[in-house]
Each structure stands twice: as structure tokens, then as C-alpha cells.
């Protein structure tokens, strides 16, 4: 190679590396801005600019071919993702994140697979990084796919059987044996590579199937962290600094986020992964006394219209009924009448921490009216009405008193301490955990049966009728 050609390549390489450095900086600044509500929106723009720079620059990477294939894959993937991302409903956001995350894990596994099949990962270090990245990426891929299926309602059952943990351990050990054979260059045959990936994919499926829907957000967050780690490891194999930095940052940020979420749900990570919620085997002890007292919408309308202070407790049921717009309309009527209205959000209202805030924001509720558990709990005692819409376990006072209850110890919203409690509920069934809710039977509680959307419309009419 002539000196001129070499220096061109070196110059180009330096430019590419500099661009990757800029990308890493943009990602970190973007994430930092996303961690505060004031700057959050600009954060994704910073990170997006970083991604654009890195992608464009990579087309100039020295020694590459197959450009038509690369272009076709990017266009296909981007068009599908754009289309699906634009039309997904806010209520379905958690499973969409799971899906996109799984794709990233799959891509990380594919990179490792190409390197391993090609024999590109030379030396013990590179080979170890490649098999670890591939293993983690493949588990994240199939695990996230199952998480998506469960939250989307495609997989309805939780598959649990005796010896499931033993099977998972067996799968893990078998995958690790394949990994060790490859990493130590004892046996580099394509069959071992195939075995590693097949085992890892099955492991992801069998690890995720027994986990209940309520715990899925924590699992999705964990897979998000794992994908980040896999990307970082692949970055080491490919000597790509942008991948190393971005992947590792997401890996550690995702791990912390997973812990925060598990804490908000009063679960430990081990508990989520190795036992199903309500998997105690025994029927929940229902020692609830009293009766359910129904009420008409018109009476609730009067009660709300003449209240000084009302606190709304929304739950996932409200989001499913798409009632957030009607409820906000109702609250605006009340605010115009001089009623103080606040929204109380439990950390696990909605499908994952923060999800309910997104849904309320979508309906146009300003976020100074939204309070989280610590801010609002002392205020229930001064509230005339607590309006519970599609929430159940998060307001069950049993969590404070009954040590035998599976939700004992979970922090709850003290809705039972309001002067009047109105519960809008579709039917008389129990909550997600299958536990009877003692709140519904209290003397100051009235039940307004019906779909949240319909009940919201009736309440609007009722408040207007008061004049």
C-alpha cells in the first residue's frame, strides 16, 4: 500500500473515531437531560443527533462491502419501527419498549455470532467477550419477546411446573459449557456456536415465561440493562468506543433503574425472577367484613360539586377504559367551581413506574396537579372525597394491617382516611393480586359500578346538573 493511501485511511479512521467520541458525549448529555422533567424533551434530541452522526460516519468505515444489504436492512427496520412507534397507544408503551429492546439484544447476539462463525474473535480475551456478549444478547432477545407477548396479551398463561428452576440452571450450565469451549478455543466448530445461541434463546424464554404480568416492567428494565451490557461487550470485540461507552452507560443506568423500580414495587429483584406474584399456592385469606354499598352517579356529582378538596386515585383500569380524558374534563369542571383537585399516583399505578404520569400527561393534566405517594398521603385526611378509578391493590389498607397478605408491607395510598371514598369499578371482582380489598367495605366507602369512561361521562352530567 502506498504512503498516500495509508495516510488517507488513517485520516479517515481518525475522523471516524472523533465522530464516535462526539456521539458518546451527546449520548451522556442526552441521558442526563432526560433525567429531569424540565430538560427531558431536549435530551432525546441530543441523543438522537448522536445516533445520526454515528450511523452516517459508519458508512465511511474502511474495508467494508455489502453496502446494498446494509442500506436495505436499515431502511426496512427504520420504516417498520417508525410506523409501529407512531401508532402504538400510550397504554401499550411498556411492551413496545420491551420489543425494541429485544431487537437490540438480538442485534448484539447477531454481531457476536458473525464474529464467532467467521473466527474473527481471536485470542482468549476477545473470544470471552464475544461469547459473553452473544449469550447475554440472545437471552435478552428471546426474554424480551416473551415479555412483549405477555403484556400484549398474546401469551395469557404463566407456565409454571415442578423443576422449572432446575431446568433453567441446566440450560444455563449447558450454555456456559459451549461458551467456555469457544472462549478457550478448545472447539471453535460452528456447531458449538450454534449450540450456544440455541441454548441462550431457550434460556431467555424459559426464564421469562413463569414471571407474572405485574412484575414484567422490572424484567423489561433488567433486559434493557442486559442489552446495554451486551452492546458494550460487543464494542470491546469490535474496538468500537461509541458502543463501549453507550452500552456500558446503559448497562449500569439500567441496573440502577431496575433496582429503583423493584423498590417502588416493594419487591426484590431475586423475588421477581425466582417466584411468581401470588404464587403462594394458598388462597388469599379473605377475612373482610361488611358490605359493598352502591351509589348513583347523580349523588356522587353533588358530593364532588360541594367538596372543598377531592383527590383522584387513578389506576390501570382507568387507562384500559381510556377514561383519562373524561376524568380530566370532570376535574376541570370541579376546579372551575373552586374545588381543590389533585391526582395521587402510586409508584406502580399503570404498568410501570411513571407510566400513569405519561397517560395523564397525554390527557392534558398539568403535572403540578399530580402528586406521588410521599407528597399526597398526609393530605387524604383533609380531603372530602377520594375518587378511586380503576385502582385496587394500591389503596388496599390490608397492606398496612394483615401480615398474612401477599401485599403486606407494600406502601399504599391512604385513601381510606378521606371523609368519603368513591370507588368507580367495573364489577365486584378482586384486584390483580386476587386479594379482597378491605377499603371497599368501609363505612365511608360507596361503590359506583360501571366502565370508567361511562361513569366519567355520567359524573360530568351530574356536576353540570348541580348548576
Amino acid at each position: 500500500m502506498s504512503g498516500a493511501a495509508l495516510s488517507t485511511i488513517l485520516g479517515r479512521d481518525a475522523a471516524i473515531q472523533a465522530s464516535y467520541f462526539v456521539t458518546a458525549v451527546l449520548f451522556i448529555v442526552g441521558l442526563k437531560r432526560m433525567s429531569s422533567p424540565v430538560t427531558a424533551r431536549s435530551g432525546i434530541l441530543w441523543a438522537g443527533a448522536g445516533m445520526l452522526v454515528a450511523t452516517l460516519v459508519t458508512f465511511a468505515y474502511p474495508g467494508m462491502s455489502n453496502y446494498p444489504l446494509i442500506g436495505a436492512a436499515i431502511v426496512l427496520g427504520a420504516v417498520f419501527a417508525w410506523w409501529s412507534g407512531k401508532r402504538v397507544a400510550m397504554t401499550n408503551m411498556p411492551q413496545m419498549i420491551a420489543l425494541y429492546n429485544g431487537m437490540g439484544g438480538g442485534a448484539a447476539a447477531a454481531i457476536a455470532a458473525v464474529e464467532l462463525y467467521r473466527g474473527g474473535a481471536e485470542g482468549y480475551g476477545a473470544a470471552t467477550l464475544a461469547v459473553t456478549g452473544g449469550l447475554i444478547g440472545a437471552v435478552s432477545f428471546s426474554g424480551s419477546a416473551i415479555a412483549f407477548g405477555k403484556l400484549q396479551g398474546l401469551i395469557k398463561r404463566s407456565f409454571r411446573f415442578r423443576g422449572q428452576q432446575a431446568l433453567n440452571i441446566l440450560l444455563l450450565v449447558a450454555a456456559l459449557v459451549c461458551a467456555a469451549l469457544l472462549a478457550g478455543h478448545f472447539n471453535d466448530s460452528p456447531r458449538v456456536v450454534t449450540g450456544l445461541f440455541v441454548l441462550a434463546l431457550i434460556l431467555g424464554i424459559s426464564m421469562t415465561l413463569p414471571i407474572g404480568g405485574a412484575d414484567m416492567p422490572v424484567v423489561i428494565s433488567l433486559y434493557n440493562a442486559l442489552t446495554g451490557l451486551a452492546v458494550g461487550l460487543d464494542g470491546f470485540v469490535m474496538h468500537n468506543a461509541a458502543m463501549i461507552v453507550a452500552g456500558t452507560v446503559v448497562g449500569s443506568a439500567g441496573t440502577l433503574l431496575t433496582q429503583l423500580m423493584a423498590k417502588a414495587m416493594n419487591r426484590s429483584l431475586a423475588n421477581v425472577l425466582f417466584s411468581g406474584f401470588g404464587d403462594t399456592g394458598e388462597a388469599p385469606s379473605g377475612t373482610v367484613t361488611g358490605s359493598l354499598k352502591p351509589i348513583e352517579a347523580s349523588d356522587v356529582g353533588v358530593m364532588l360539586a360541594f367538596a372543598q378538596k377531592a383527590i383522584v386515585v387513578p389506576g390501570y383500569g382507568m387507562a384500559v377504559a381510556q377514561a383519562q380524558h373524561k376524568i380530566w374534563e370532570l376535574c376541570q369542571l370541579l376546579i372551575d367551581r373552586g374545588v381543590t383537585v389533585k391526582f395521587a399516583i402510586h409508584p406502580v399505578a399503570g404498568r410501570m413506574p411513571g407510566h400513569m404520569n405519561v397517560l395523564l400527561a397525554e390527557a392534558g393534566v398539568p403535572y403540578d396537579l399530580i402528586a406521588d405517594l410521599d407528597e399526597i398521603n398526609a393530605e387524604f385526611e383533609t380531603a372530602d372525597v377520594a375518587l378511586i378509578i380503576g385502582a385496587n391493590d394500591v389503596v388496599n389498607p390490608v397492606a398496612r394491617t394483615d401480615k398474612s397478605s401477599p401485599i403486606y408491607g407494600m406502601p399504599i395510598l391512604n385513601a381510606d382516611r378521606a371523609k368519603n371514598v368513591i370507588v368507580i369499578k367495573r364489577g365486584t371482582g378482586a384486584g390483580f393480586s386476587g386479594i379482597e380489598n378491605a377499603l371497599f367495605y368501609l363505612d365511608n366507602t360507596r361503590m359506583l359500578y360501571g366502565d370508567a369512561q361511562k361513569a366519567g361521562a355520567e359524573l360530568i352530567q351530574a356536576v353540570k346538573a348541580v348548576g
Partner: protein, 101 residues
Amino acid sequence: MTGIVALYIFMLAAFTGYEVISRVPVILHTPLMSGSNFVHGIVLVGAMVALGNAHTPLEKTIGFIGVLLAAINAMGGYVVTERMLEMFKSSRARGPRPGAH
């Protein structure tokens, strides 16, 4: 890049990720998870290089799948994060939030 330098980068990046997230309010958990999901879409860069250096039909097939999946990760992650954070803007525009946080 020597092994020890790589290890330093790994350690510092890990601390950076931890620091960046450590004081985030609960209301941003979902958008932030989505945002970090977008950031690991950088795997696209690696997948492009892997496909660019693939020779056999098997390598090309897996490389193609890799780029396809990575593009979905990056684009999808961006679109849904942007949509979620867009709504936080609209609530801010209605007036500054007094006090809390």
C-alpha cells in the same frame, strides 16, 4: 486499545451511567427506560461493520438480521421516547410548576 485502558473506559462509563440516573424522579422512570433503550441502539454501528465484513452466505444472513434488528431498536426507541417526552413539554407550557421537585 490495550486491555487495561479498555478496563478503565468500562469502569468510568459504568460510574457515569450510575451517576446520570441516580436522582431521577419516579415520573420519568418510563421515559428514561425508553431513552436508555434508544441509546443502546448504537449496536446498529457494530452490526453495520459486522455485515460490511461478512463473506459467506451464513455471515451475510446473520449480519443482515443484525442490522435490521438494530435499526428497529434505534428508530423505534427514538420515536416512542420522543412521543412520551413531547407530552411533558405540553404540561410545562401550561405554566411553571410551583414548588415540588
